[in-house]
Symmetry: C2
Amino acid sequence: MRSTVEGAVIEQLKQVLDESRVLTKEEDRVSYSYDASFGVHIPEVVVQPLSTAEVQAIMKIASAYKIPVYPRGQGTSLSGGPLPVKGGIVLDFSQWDSRLDVYPDDMVAIVSPGVKTAAINEKANQFGLMYPPDPSSSNVSTIGGNLAENAGGPRGLKYGVTKDYVIGLEVVTAAGDVIRTGGRTVKNVTGYDLTKLIVGSEGTLGVITEAILRLIPKPPATATLMAVFDDIVDSGSSISRVLSSGIMPAKMEIMDQASVQAVEDYQPLGLPTDIEAIVLIELDGHPQAIKEEIERVQTICVEVGAREVKVARNAAEALELWKARKLVSPAIVRLKPTKISEDATVPRSKIPDMFKRLKEIRAKYQIDLVVFGHAGDGNLHPNIIADQRDQEEMRRVEQAVEEIFQAAIELGGTLSGEHGIGTMKAPFMELELGKVGLEMMKRMKQSWDPDNILNPGKIFPEEGQRFVLRSE
Amino acid sequence: MRSTVEGAVIEQLKQVLDESRVLTKEEDRVSYSYDASFGVHIPEVVVQPLSTAEVQAIMKIASAYKIPVYPRGQGTSLSGGPLPVKGGIVLDFSQWDSRLDVYPDDMVAIVSPGVKTAAINEKANQFGLMYPPDPSSSNVSTIGGNLAENAGGPRGLKYGVTKDYVIGLEVVTAAGDVIRTGGRTVKNVTGYDLTKLIVGSEGTLGVITEAILRLIPKPPATATLMAVFDDIVDSGSSISRVLSSGIMPAKMEIMDQASVQAVEDYQPLGLPTDIEAIVLIELDGHPQAIKEEIERVQTICVEVGAREVKVARNAAEALELWKARKLVSPAIVRLKPTKISEDATVPRSKIPDMFKRLKEIRAKYQIDLVVFGHAGDGNLHPNIIADQRDQEEMRRVEQAVEEIFQAAIELGGTLSGEHGIGTMKAPFMELELGKVGLEMMKRMKQSWDPDNILNPGKIFPEEGQRFVLRSE
């Protein structure tokens, strides 16, 4: 069902957008052929809309010719979200950042799809407010991409994910119509919640052209603690015990021995490498409250068997403690060139079991596997380091990733906590959702996009599709 | 399209459920003909399922015979959610409360649909946890009804509504299949978010048979304050100023002069009645934090022009301050027998404008209108008191309600903040959503329930349907 974008279509697109924003040269198109995941797919044309009316006009053309359309932000997707796998038109939203308005009295921000995520939080901060979702890519990624994939981040534990802050959307449908979902009020039960359905639907149901985001008061202070554990089970206990003591940290991050080792090899920070886990906890809130709470967290960590607990005495020391966590990604890509970053998520109580399963998988397939992530909400990031040129190794990696997914689902978890399904995980959808569950999702897709022109090839597996990381 | 439940169907239902749970006598059926809104519709049969398998079997029968099915909890709906307006089978879930399990390590509760909402919070409290949604009916209403309508409550400001705490569902489809949406992890981006789509869909997409709810640590302390304002605009300023100062109260409730007057006439508490508004604010969190914050809230209220500010010194005084708010509903139904409770919601900054519009509507139609509600999130409750037997008065009430909806939408708000659309507000859906928006919702409904057997007559307006409160 690969479509061909004919000359007539390009001409029509040039009548809708300024010619400078209709990219047809190969050197331009190649820049849109990849994201931060796997696979290379060159689109036939790239357009850069700057208004809702332009998106409508583009969709009407695409709809008339049944040409696939792929919305794209900055291409930081880890699951293949913006890849033009069936050819057609890439909608590049990275240039459309014209609107970033904060309305402090309503505690909302209204944003264009190309606005960078971090810019929203910075603007909110000027009014004593905060936009909580903090994907690690927030300085680079666009809000449009975050909305499409329902991006998470470390603050997810206390504050939730992107979806929890979206209260209204403007969306262009497959046919080129505009709908407005939700609105400017936090409470809204008028009909189906299309807002939360479209956020995280990976561009398969409509094209988001504007969003209304909820902001919250910015917490006045933070406190940071690092705890070192000889036994990974004890680190899990520290997390459960803190949460059941009435304390809700902003972040609870974990790093396994291999992560710590990689960091120490890359840039020695003096961390102990003969341990099983390091836990980093950040509290935020009222200064007096967190001063007292961080002491309680420290006591809990010692009680459950931490070898060592460090509390940052000031902002500089807090930064120093977070340095280890921030260095994991740069450290591991030094080991080998190819990084497969997963986000299998398990119920919080199953974290020790998941670590055990991951250890077995590492041994069984002889892969370089490091594990870190957001322990407070069970959202681990098993990262496999490999060399894509080594076909034999990549085959073992594929098998290992399959087993990671199976383990997560067997432990009552999910394929994806925050990266999305995209192309890569589509073959595993039925494993998690069952036949009927997947069928019900497909019905929604078909009812909204009967010609399957909105980001085809994503979320839903093709007939017989298998999980492949090798270029074939 | 009214269906008739034939004898054969009743016989089949009796083979699926114990006969004692298939109610066919008129005196039984009449009890299921109304809820807390308007209209009386007697179902042909009432069944009381106690398991998912029973619900599946019932749906297979209903599906085979194309008989409408209406899920029902305790019938506290204010929008007609469970009314069997097209005849058929009422699914009474009030008897199915067998499962209420709290898993403190995962901070989740798993519940059967007939469990009372307040019971969930009580059970969570035993583990130092909290289930935040607190609809005023929580001692009576079932979680199944709360899920269907996405119930709100005073704590919505800080904690959100029912939907924000649902992470997984078991749902029986129109055809009698079972699907599981979401799961036991807080983060989950595996495909479309069917969980949040089904919550609030008023039983029109599927029948919820189990839910996984997210719990949070219970805040250790609360603080309460009452501020009295001569000018309703100043009361709005107090709300905005508190929120932009970095303080997020658990509740911010407002009562207008007419509400205060009604309370004083009913049970004198010594409240001033020559004022325009009373604001009640509750903070929760760490004891030291809220002690300092409640002082700052007090200062802000005085600065923006409060005539008087009272801070409760202990729990007993806090209860005394909340008494006024709790007495509004019983007080107003003493004035006249019929209460029309609305939940039109506006952006927070538009609360003073909305109060102005409501004042004009009160004068124009000469109606008894009192206004109170959740000011922190713009979710007001304009309540009209009337006598249903007075047709002329009810006609004025109908016109007034229509104007209230129009005002809310014109101010950027919504028809319903927390009560749902049901039968009553269906005629106004297009006003808020537009033709295409409503059409896209209908497509979803049709793709999941092609025979329209799941709670027909709700949310979507019938051809030419008008808003009517009179019995015709």
